[in-house]
């Protein structure tokens, strides 16, 4: 089953040589040891910020796949380990000490274990090729002014440049090398190499029409599409293998739902709708998934359908600036001043209501649907209906964690009903 593809290996070697990755032991100096120490420390920092996602099934899956495909470490400072970070942005990164992090927002977009293996194979090659150390050395040679880099994101101010490189992306050549070698890793494993272009395709989808918040190798970016084409060409002659999906689904189901909720909360509603629709298509009888779709439609607010492909970079930059300056409520209020915005708002609430009603029709005791309905009716100024929906929610889930929130809404609605509003 583990077939070798000499032509591909040759291609990979050429690519590696030109890109400069070193897949043999690399001795590091005292200063570079600091990168290793910081890489280890970063785990503690993520833990101190409660960002490590420790759900056993998901973590076990990622670690099992990662350890299955990783090579033997070439250096005593490399110790492969795999972590999941609780962050809905689609990202993954590897640190020079062998620690590989994958965001929940990345994991939630994958379809099967083979795609996870492809993603990890890419990241593993940044470690195996010593890309962090190579780029650190290259950066040290640059001018001092060039070193004065501003904040590169939430962790940018704290971590060394070598680590920033590993998190925020390597040179195009090293990224390509990691892609090329990931295919080789997949070929030597039981996984389907065609999963790599699939992953890049998934990440090339721009649901929101926004420029990336933080430019990362895995974020929405035209280069991702180019990389997808390159990797697709590389695997074109390789027979497809059966994908591994069942165990993957069981391990990530809860995390997928959580991530969709994250997108609703963070106001990425197009992404939430797309992922929830995909979930419902996969599990049509799962009421929790259907309810999530209702939440996602409700989260759309006054936004209409979006075709990011038809948007120019200028449009996307405008969207991003608008989003950065105004609160969600401000943007909603502005949209509701337009006929188009009001129509979209009404249509989205209608879709949300219909979805919640479908859930309740299937199971009248499914509490979250009543809460969703209450929220929709509140926005539609249907006071009595909203109060009834919240009342039903409390009846079905008297000990719900959000009882206090729903009760405060019910108090307000009751007051409004009393004064006849």
């Amino acid at each position: 089953m583990r077939r070798a593809f000499p032509w591909l290996a040759g291609l990979v070697c050429v690519s590696a040589a030109s890109a400069g990755g070193v897949y043999e032991p690399v001795s590091i100096d005292k200063d570079e040891w600091r990168l290793i120490e910081e890489s280890k420390d970063l785990e503690g920092w993520f833990s101190s910020q409660s960002l490590l996602y420790m759900e056993p099934k998901t973590l076990a899956l990622v670690r099992r796949v990662g350890h299955e495909i990783r090579p033997q470490p070439t250096d005593d400072y490399i110790e492969y380990e795999f972590f999941v970070l609780r962050d809905p942005s689609p990202n993954a990164f590897a640190l020079p000490n062998g620690h590989v992090y994958i965001h929940t927002g990345m994991l939630a977009r994958l379809d099967d274990e083979d795609q996870l293996a492809a993603l990890l194979a890419h990241e593993i090659n940044h470690v195996a090729g010593h890309h962090g150390i190579i780029e650190h050395r290259a950066t040290r040679k640059k001018t001092i002014a060039g070193m004065v880099i501003g904040s590169l994101g939430p962790w940018g101010g704290m971590i060394s440049l070598g680590l920033q490189t590993s998190i925020y992306g390597y040179s195009r050549e090293l990224e390509q090398e990691a892609d090329d070698r990931a295919i080789e890793v997949l070929l030597a494993s039981r996984y389907d190499p065609h999963a790599l272009p699939d992953v890049l395709d998934i990440l090339g989808r721009d649901y929101e029409g926004l420029s990336p918040r933080t430019s990362t190798v895995w974020s929405t970016h035209p280069e991702v599409r180019a990389r997808a084409e390159t990797s697709r060409a590389l695997v074109a002659g390789v027979p497809r293998r059966e994908r591994h999906g069942d165990g993957f689904e069981a391990a990530v189901m809860d995390m997928r739902a959580m991530t969709i909720e994250d997108y609703v909360q963070d106001d990425y509603p197009h992404t939430a709708v797309a992922l929830a629709e995909s979930l419902v298509a996969r599990y049509p009888s799962d009421l929790a998934s259907l309810n999530l779709l209702g939440d996602a439609w409700q989260g759309m607010g006054a936004q209409g359908p979006l075709d990011p492909a038809s948007q120019s970079d200028s449009d996307k930059r405008h969207n991003l600036r608008d989003r950065a300056r105004k609160t969600r409520a401000q943007r909603l209020a502005e949209a509701l001043e337009t006929e188009e915005g009001r129509a979209a708002y009404a249509a989205n609430l209608q879709r949300a209501e219909e979805t919640y009603q479908r859930v309740i029709a299937a199971d009248a005791t499914f509490a979250p649907a009543y809460r969703g309905l209450g929220e929709v009716y509140e926005q539609q100024a249907r006071t009595r209906d909203a109060a009834e929906a919240y009342l039903n929610y409390i009846k079905q889930a008297p000990a719900a964690p959000d009882r206090a929130i729903v009760m405060s809404r019910l108090r307000l609605l009751t007051t409004q009903l009393k004064v006849g509003q």
């Binding site: 503690g44 950066t139 704290m158 680590l163 959000d402 929130i405 009751t414 009903l417 009393k418």
Partner: protein
């Protein structure tokens, strides 16, 4: 000379006029009046970053960031407790040991970060900043009236680097911190207090860094008024009464 004197007088007058407004900056009117001032506050772990700028690169101090973040939390908690608030320091160990709490904390922090990125001091009294249900859920889970979020950043620059930064631009020494207090009932942002400290160029010992942390914690809390439970608006009607009343009204 006359122009200079006039300018100084004008500036002094302007400062005098704005003193009252400045004293209230960073608080909603309702917080100042006591209506939304909490009795109990949960203090989430500070997001602390300690950085040493070197001549050719930046050295992060991740372990120290965790240590000094904890010190900042403790300092802030002490001041708030001295002012009469019931303070819960929700440390990372507690959060990581409780999966539901971890969910609520991570969600609330993300919502807070999204909100605070759009923060403009003049808009705070308009109550346009809301951290959403995630902050309310967290407050409910912890059984507190408000949640305090904080960030702390200290950058240490050696003398040589400071000279280079002055000549060609770049990061210089400095320390700043910010605390935001979000109402647990509504999710509204009630308080934002920012503190800065001047950090002279040159290497710093842990004791010196600790002193900067203490200065920042004091700066973030000194203008926060003391707890005043007598002014806080509390919900008088019990859940059962509301549920009964809602049931009746819906049937009518």
């Amino acid at each position: 000379m006359g122009i200079k004197i006039r300018a100084v007088v004008t500036l002094a007058a302007a400062l005098g006029c704005s003193t009252a407004a400045f004293a209230e900056r960073g608080f909603t009117n309702e917080f100042l009046s006591g209506a939304t001032r909490p009795k109990s506050i949960a203090l989430l772990p500070a997001e602390a970053t300690i950085t040493r700028q070197q001549v050719v690169e930046t050295k992060g101090l991740i372990d120290e960031s965790v240590v000094f973040g904890a010190q900042f939390d403790a300092d802030v908690a002490k001041v708030l407790a001295d002012k009469g608030y019931e303070v819960q320091v929700v440390d990372a160990d507690r959060i990581n040991a409780d999966r539901a709490l971890q969910e609520y904390v991570v969600d609330a922090k993300r919502a807070y970060d999204e909100m605070i990125a759009r923060y403009r001091p003049k808009k705070l009294p308009d109550r346009i900043y809301n951290a959403g249900d995630s902050a309310r859920l967290l407050a409910s889970h912890l059984g507190v009236d408000a949640i305090a979020f904080s960030k702390l950043s200290i950058t240490i620059t050696p003398a040589g680097k400071a000279i280079m930064s002055a000549l060609i631009g770049g990061t210089t020494s400095g320390a700043n911190s910010m605390i935001g207090i979000v109402d647990g009932d509504t999710g509204d942002l009630e308080v934002v207090q920012i503190a800065i400290a001047i950090v002279a160029p040159g290497e710093k010992t842990p004791e010196e860094i600790a002193a900067y942390v203490a200065t920042l914690a004091a700066g973030n809390t000194k203008r926060v008024p003391g707890a005043d439970p007598s002014q806080r608006i509390e919900v008088a009607v019990s859940d059962d009464e509301v549920l009964d009343e809602a049931e009746t009204l819906i049937r009518e």
